[in-house]
Symmetry: C2
């Protein structure tokens, strides 16, 4: 049974009068999270290229890790023996574990799904594994994150309405079983709304999880290939049916423009590998948009890439130095670039929160869009494909 712990109170501090944007505070056993907030992704118990001190310097408040990956390597028993994920990776602030359902369903022919769960082969050694709603909760209780996500069925888009409805029903049955299986009072189980881009199914999904009165709710299955307009419309048709008094988490979304638009539609929490992944591949965020460090103009630029940035990368190093590190394939590039991009994203979140509190959110949102040129639709689509591939690959 879910035991509702006072630790997981969500205090709504302010609601924007012009949009759905909200500012709040989410209380967890490992500290408070001022929302809206972005969660850096540490799939394998490490935010790629960063250590916990880097994350504290960035003022990251909560990070995400992945049950599927950790179940395979190093296995939940070792992490439990180390005092859970917090002890294992030496991070004492909040953690959220995704179930890894998205990754398992991405395995394609390497997995079979039935009403009780999904059976799959390890990509590492071919060993057979089975995830049921109960087993995922059991593993997540061994990992000990503050927020845990249930197993859900993620189907590829486009899909028929029948397939979407069947996956949604199964997701709901699995959520009910997860609720029953859950034992630890110091962890919060969030519900997940699926339903593809079918607005009626999204509403049904939102109403279903709302009725369960869980400490938080998530929206999954977006940013998986649909256009931005469709994603925004689907989001706008979902959040109104989720409880106002509980945090709302949009899974796997994290480009700067999507964060602003998600917050405008009432989302409180986000995660995405994108900011760190594009950093590793050479792209850095600036208030005008993403720039490639490979660009020849940076070769001799002795000022920082982003002169408005106060991150430890921009405070210390010129664009010319970063260009050199990337060109020579030096390891330090990965860390400095990741620090810059996560710093940019977390600063945007703080900007949004301050704007919600002082009533300027709509103006700041317009100002952001006036300055910021998103990556082209082509580049964005390529990123999504790389993003999915990356989740299955071992390369940085």
């Amino acid at each position: 049974m879910v035991m509702h712990d006072a630790s997981f109170q969500f205090t709504l501090t302010a609601t924007d009068t012009n949009t759905g944007a909200r500012a709040g505070v989410f209380h967890t056993p490992h500290g408070e999270i001022a929302t809206p907030m972005f969660m850096p992704v540490g799939t394998q118990a490490t935010v790629k290229a960063l250590d916990p001190d880097d994350l504290r310097t960035l003022d990251a408040r909560i990070i995400l890790s992945n049950t599927y990956h950790l179940a395979l390597r190093p296995g939940p028993e070792i992490i439990a023996a180390a005092g859970g994920l917090h002890g294992f990776m030496a991070w004492d602030r909040p953690i959220l574990t995704d179930s890894g359902g998205f990754q398992v369903f991405s395995l394609g022919a390497q997995r079979t799904v039935d009403d009780n769960g999904v059976t799959f082969r390890s990509v590492h050694d071919g060993s057979l594994h089975r995830f049921t709603p109960e087993r995922v909760i059991e593993i997540e209780e061994m990992l000990g994150a503050d927020v845990i996500m249930p197993l859900d069925e993620c189907i590829a888009l486009p899909a028929t309405n029948d397939d979407l409805r069947r996956a949604l029903d199964r997701t709901h049955r699995w959520l009910e079983r997860a609720v029953v299986a859950k034992r630890r009072a110091d962890q919060a189980l969030f519900g997940i709304v699926q339903g593809g881009t079918d607005l009626a199914l999204r509403r049904a999904g939102a109403e279903f999880v709302a009725a369960l009165d869980l400490p938080g709710n998530a929206i999954g299955g977006l940013s998986v290939g649909e256009s931005k307009d469709v994603m925004y419309d689907t989001l706008a048709a979902t959040t109104p049916f989720l409880p106002t008094a509980k945090p709302r988490y949009l899974m796997g979304v994290g480009s700067p423009e999507d964060l602003w638009e998600g917050v405008a539609r009432g989302v409180d929490l986000f995660d995405c590998v994108l900011p760190a992944r594009v950093a590793r591949h050479g792209s850095l965020y600036t208030p005008e948009g993403r720039v490639s460090i490979r660009n020849a103009r940076f070769r001799e630029q002795l000022s920082p890439v982003d002169s408005t940035c106060d991150c430890t990368t921009c405070r210390r190093f010129s664009a010319a130095y970063l260009h050199h590190l990337h060109r020579t394939e030096e390891l330090l590039w990965f860390r400095l670039a990741t620090i810059h991009n996560l710093s940019f994203i977390l600063r945007e979140m703080r900007t949004m929160r301050a704007a919600i509190l002082d009533g300027s959110f709509a103006d700041r949102r317009a100002a952001f869009h006036a300055d910021y040129h998103p990556a082209s639709a082509t580049a964005a689509a390529a990123n999504r494909v790389q993003y999915r591939d990356h989740k299955r690959s071992k390369t940085p």
Copy 2:
């Protein structure tokens, strides 16, 4: 002309009565260096996987960079415009630049040598470059390191006595030309002793550089394939002919056992990529010898790899976590492992210095060898081959 700057005074603090070991202080424009000291290698203006704060936390006092690599990428003009290497890489402590002669001569068919210098093609774009003794000094004056090394001729061993003698003569002529070419008073040019494993040539080389009365002297061309006994004997036949009042630098040497034996034979400064390179490949130093993090015993070890170590890796992370990072090929591995191995080496240097000062050097040296099991001769030979290959490759 060389201008002898008071900045480069070398103060001999203590000399061990039982061995040739010395403790001193080498003054440079960017700070004092207590010797004996090991210099981490930052070939491309970055100590691989570390940032300047990491180096300060390690209490690294001087680092080495490479003229050959920096001349090709990013080019000396950009570094000069950034305020020299110190400004470019944001490191305000002393730097030594090697000429990169070793790397150029390693190019084999891609280079031709004559009495005036060496002509070679860039491994990156095939462009033609020429290093003369004067050009190397000119580049090093643009890089602005505290200590600069002259172009020397490094020939492969085994070599005939005639070839060794011809290379030694050429090295001496080039050094004389470097002395004449040098302009900056805030840089110290060291001489280099070559001569292979011919003890008479080594003595001649040492006497030649001693006569030039430079602010420091180096011993090159060792640890390139000869046995450890031969290396130690060659060293012992060289240092007695170098000035006592000037620092002595053994180039490219840095296994723990070689550092103790080098210090015992009167060496003050060392550099080597080995500690950081073996770290990246999975080997960590302990007082008993190198261990592989891949070893299954570390999979569930919740204590640090080295319980005696106070580095920021061992203070924060278990062996099980490091094993996991290495197994999952996570970027954080490279940084944490490099921190540990450089911390080990720099602590050994501090231990040696303290022992020289309190008269216990011989005892501590014996205690080190009693505990420490060097990598096998086979492994050591393989490391040397990898080391040479690595200098030409781009992979970490």
